[in-house]
């Protein structure tokens, strides 16, 4: 199993994770994905790539370094993002009862191993 698929596999095994994908943030395109039915990977890639880019600029304007983790929480679930090297971002779409703490740890670790 390739490194990328291994990374996606680890993230999707966390309870409550409905899908994981590796995104090229600047393009908003999918590099690799592992998604359950009902998760629109293309939309997730495009929208999360754009949002992470904007949050990175906001954080930098606020004097912070490039984000290591982003958690967008909504009424019916969350989108998690862990920027990696070379403009890649590891993204997960999770249910409201997901173990976000565990997903976060797996994603930060996985994103670091992508280089």
């Amino acid at each position: 199993m390739s490194t990328v698929q291994g990374v996606l596999d680890r993230v999707t095994r966390v309870p409550g994770v409905r899908g994981a994908l590796l995104v090229s943030a600047g393009d908003g395109l999918i590099v690799a994905e592992q998604l359950m039915d009902g998760v629109d990977g293309r939309a997730a890639a495009a929208l999360t790539g754009s949002l992470v880019g904007r949050l990175t600029r906001t954080a930098q304007q606020a004097g912070l370094e490039r984000p290591a983790f982003v958690h967008l929480r909504a009424e019916a679930g969350s989108v998690l993002a862990a920027p990696g090297p070379d403009d890649l971002v590891l993204v997960a779409v999770v249910a409201p009862d997901a173990n976000v703490g565990l997903a976060r740890l797996e994603m930060i670790d996985a994103a670091a191993r992508l280089s």
Binding site: G26, D27, G28, L29, R42, A43, A45, A46, L47, G49, S50, G53
Partner: protein
């Protein structure tokens, strides 16, 4: 933004708002312009429409030679601006979209909302009889009338 047909306006407005596209051209596969946004000169519109239709026709021929179904679209990545060309079917025949965008958006966002626009165009196109084919002797006067409508000059 200007359009020859009123039912094109709302889907195109939504696309422009969501995608942050800088220039957009919708045309028939023969290069007849249906709607435009961002162009300031009629000559640029005509040139872009003709070139865009030509590029799509060439690309579809390549696909045919390869034995594959049509390509969904093509993207040219530039240093400061990029361009996407995509052909799609409507009740009014095959159309082409040409979108120019900058680094403030992304190809993923443009493609995502372009597909949504296509779905809206298909669902909102009036289901009436197709207009008769354009005769050569009417072409110039029709083109002239279209360009005047697209640039707001009566």
């Amino acid at each position: 933004m200007r359009a020859l047909e009123p039912w094109v306006v709302e889907p195109l407005e939504v696309f422009l708002a969501e995608s942050s596209a800088r220039l957009t051209l919708l045309m028939t596969s023969s290069g007849q312009v249906v709607a435009q946004h961002g162009f300031s000169r009629s000559l640029d519109v005509m040139t872009a429409a003709a070139l865009g239709a030509g590029i799509v026709a060439s690309t579809e021929e390549i696909a045919r030679l390869m034995g594959v179904t049509r390509f969904a679209g093509l993207v040219h990545h530039g240093e400061r601006q990029s361009c996407m060309l995509s052909a799609f079917g409507t009740p009014r025949g095959r159309w082409i979209g040409l979108v120019v965008f900058g680094p403030e958006t992304s190809v993923g966002i443009v493609q995502l909302f372009f597909e949504q626009m296509v779905a809206q165009l298909v669902s909102s196109a009036p289901r009436e009889q197709a207009p008769p084919p354009t005769l050569a002797e009417n072409f110039e006067s029709e083109l002239d009338a279209s360009l005047k409508a697209l640039f707001g000059r009566t």
